[in-house]
């Protein structure tokens, strides 16, 4: 049964049909009719943000922690342009979002009207797909298509631009199950012949490594289960990218830790020295590969990815498998078991002994202090005091993000929300609110640096208004720590604009927002202070004053291969040549 209604009502109806429970947004002239409809119903909750960028990051946190698409509603012009950073972030990290923007009425488009911007033009390169809807009769179908596109294949952000007259006009509503079948149906089952080649590699590998990424998480909880099953059955070591943490548990027997620029020594050397690399839902990002020419030079490589353009983009692989991780792993396990579940046990035992030697280096060792809080120590204590709790972690971007990835352990997927591809400072605070809205009873902590945190600190207002008891754990070194580290290593210790001066008093700031502020600078008081944060029923801003000049190690300098890692300050003299300095 189709039913006539206004475009604005259609928007709300379509969201309900899609099972949307919460929308993050900010009203304005060009979306007033939709806000009027939202006001007159109770099924969909609207979270009023303080800045549109915050809305998109909240939706990302919501999506990443639930596996459902995040929904954003903002107005035309500045509302839409403020969403651009979040859209780009979601595109890079494959986060499904449906962003609805208001637009000036169709008859005003192109006249430089008030709050007019070419939203579909501006967002074309930073969305998976976008649409300008000029006819109310097509609106509901377009919104349903938008959800389909956002979720299918490699997930990503989509945007629907809705002129104000289209919101007012009336047309028939097309229900979700009545829309035209779109041709966009990406291939999800892997080619069985290629999978057979992968199985052969598994059977014969002497020095294998499973290199997993965000694709395992995006494929759903079943993919993580299958990964655990495959790992347990084969005894292969597992490493993961920043985006894939939690797919295999950090407490798992075969876990060798995160790889990449600030990954673990054992993980990177295993990547360098392996003879079989099985990439599961990762994309050979430059933070992972280091110098391409010397990337894992002696290995045969298989790559499972749902995006055809990810395969052979950076690194040529021997066995490309286009498909969804869940389906491909199911078929891999089926074929491997059918052929007798064979592995090269002797080779594997030797390989694990080698990995054990690399582990014994204890690359995360740092010099602790009883005078000043080391950031690594702060995270070790946070880990110890929150272990076993229903815990979600978000981060900002920088040194603290890498330390969090190194020192916090993730046992399950969807528990770790971080801006990996784009590296968006200001992501963590709004993302933590989005996570908390999705999981009201859970413990949600944003591990932050003070500089990143200031970029979207206005969202504390949102946390207060919507009673999201997010814990903001700020490792405050009064520096842009990662920038400072690079300036020390690459730019002759000329610390150009990399310190945070005139910082606010974070405790007073917390009081100004009406939440709790805690300050701690003494390692002896740290445990009590963290417990005070955890016990408080409401948002907390925790100002953790840490060592100002700590560098983040291990580190693969840009332009270097995996086997040329720096393990500590003593290794750093003159290591990065002028070629490396050009890279980011």
């Amino acid at each position: 049964m189709t039913k006539a209604m206004t475009g604005a009502r259609m928007v709300v109806q379509a969201l309900k049909d899609q099972g949307v429970e919460v929308v993050f947004g900010y009203p304005g002239g060009a979306v007033l009719p939709i806000y009027d409809e939202i006001f007159q119903q109770n099924d969909i909750r609207h979270v009023l943000v303080r800045h549109e960028q915050g809305a998109v990051h909240m939706a990302e946190g919501y999506a990443r922690s639930t596996g459902k698409p995040g929904v954003v509603l903002v107005t035309s012009g500045p509302g839409a342009t403020n969403a651009v950073t979040g859209l780009t972030d979601a595109l890079m990290d494959s986060i499904p979002l449906v962003v609805l923007t208001g637009q000036v009425p169709t008859f005003m488009i192109g006249t430089d009207g008030f709050q007019e911007a070419d939203t579909v033009g501006i967002t074309r390169p930073c969305t998976k797909m976008n649409w300008l809807v000029k006819d109310t009769a097509k609106l509901s179908e377009t919104i349903h298509q938008a959800f389909h596109v956002a979720m299918k294949g490699r997930p990503g952000p989509v945007l629907v631009d809705i002129p104000k007259d289209v919101q007012f006009a009336t047309a028939d509503y097309t229900p979700k199950d009545r829309i035209r079948i779109t041709h966009y149906q990406p291939k999800t089952a892997g080619d069985p012949d290629q999978i057979a080649r992968l199985v052969e590699m598994i059977e014969t590998a002497e020095r294998p490594i499973l290199y997993t990424g965000g694709g395992v998480i995006n494929s759903g909880p079943r993919a993580s289960q299958l990964l655990r099953e495959l790992t347990a059955a084969t005894g292969f070591p597992v490493t993961s990218t920043l985006m894939g943490l939690g797919a295999y548990p950090a407490s798992g027997k075969n876990w060798v830790g995160m790889l990449g620029m600030h990954g673990l020594y054992e993980a990177n050397l295993a990547m360098h020295g392996c003879d079989v690399m099985i990439n599961i839902g990762a994309r050979f990002d430059d933070r992972i590969t280091g110098r391409i020419k010397d990337f894992s030079p002696r290995s045969r490589k298989a790559h499972i990815d749902i995006d055809p353009s990810s395969i052979n983009k950076v690194v040529r692989v021997d066995v490309p498998i286009l498909g969804d991780v869940t389906l491909v792993l199911e078929e891999t396990l089926r074929q491997w078991k059918a052929r007798g579940s064979k592995t090269n046990a002797a080779g594997l035992a030797k390989w694990w002994r080698q990995i054990g030697e690399w582990r014994a280096v204890k690359c995360l060792t740092y010099r602790n202090s009883d005078k000043v809080i080391k950031p690594q120590y702060a995270l070790e204590r946070l880990e110890a005091l929150t272990k076993g709790r229903d815990r979600y972690i978000t981060t900002e971007v920088g040194q603290h993000q890498m330390w969090a990835a190194q020192f916090l352990g993730f046992e399950d997927p969807n528990r770790w929300m971080t801006s990996g591809g784009l590296g968006t400072m200001g992501y963590g605070l709004p993302a933590s609110i989005g996570v908390q809205i999705a999981h009201p009873e859970a413990l949600v902590i944003n591990v932050a640096g003070e500089a990143s945190w200031l970029m979207n600190m206005q969202e504390m207002g949102t946390a207060m208004q919507f009673r999201a008891p997010v814990k903001q754990f700020i490792l405050n070194n009064e520096r842009l720590g990662m920038v400072r580290q690079w300036q020390e290593l690459l730019h002759g210790e000329r610390y150009s604009s990399s310190w945070s001066e005139s910082l606010p008093d974070f405790v007073k700031l917390a009081e100004a927002f009406g939440c709790k502020g805690i300050k701690c600078s003494d390692p002896r008081h740290l445990d009590d202070a963290i417990m005070e944060m955890l016990d408080y029923d409401g948002p907390v801003i925790f100002d953790c004053l840490v060592e100002k000049h700590e560098n983040c190690f291990p580190m693969i300098p840009s332009g270097k291969p995996h086997n040329e890692m720096l393990l500590g300050d003593a290794d750093t003299q003159g290591v990065i040549g002028s070629k490396g300095a050009v890279l980011v």
């Binding site: 579909v120 033009g121 074309r124 390169p125 998976k128 797909m129 976008n130 300008l132 596109v149 294949g153 490699r154 041709h183 966009y184 990406p186 995006d307 055809p308 353009s309 395969i311 052979n312 983009k313 040529r316």
Partner: protein, 193 residues
Amino acid sequence: MSPLNIKKGSSSHSAYDLRDPNAEVIESHTLAVIVDNESGVLARVIGLFSGRGYNIDSLTVAEVDHEGHRSRITVVTRGTPQVIDQIEAQLSRMVPVHEVHDLTAEGPSVQRELALFKVAGKGDARIEALRLAEIFRANVVDSTLVSFVFEMTGTPEKIDAFADLMRPLGLVEIARTGIAALARGLSNFPDAS
């Protein structure tokens, strides 16, 4: 007897892909991209090329199926084999893209371009221009006492050759459509054969 001098990848008629995937040699490929005929699709395709630093040597686009709302984009691009493969993969994952065909890699194809040439001149030069136009099977589609507009269809090389000949005879303006191309035969249409 001298050995056969076959360069790898030099022929698009081989049943085997002889190209070295890691070769740094730059190849020219003609891609046919079937897309939804919606506003913004062309911008999305072109944005991919500019955003990722790919080349466009020639581009044509027009609706080819009114009922199905499909347009055909023919694009001639250049790059190493890896870049060409990447362009094809990037195009084929776009939501409004239905099909991508690498006509250069898939087999023999016909490629044609239409061009209009405005040539100004009097006396012998004018007569010579007309004579050459006949040789090249160009049509006169406009004429004044001091000028011609010739219309010609052919491969880009033929059009280049004609333009070179017309230049000393008073060529003042040229308009080219860019390449339209189709695969030869019916190999893409098993049902029709």
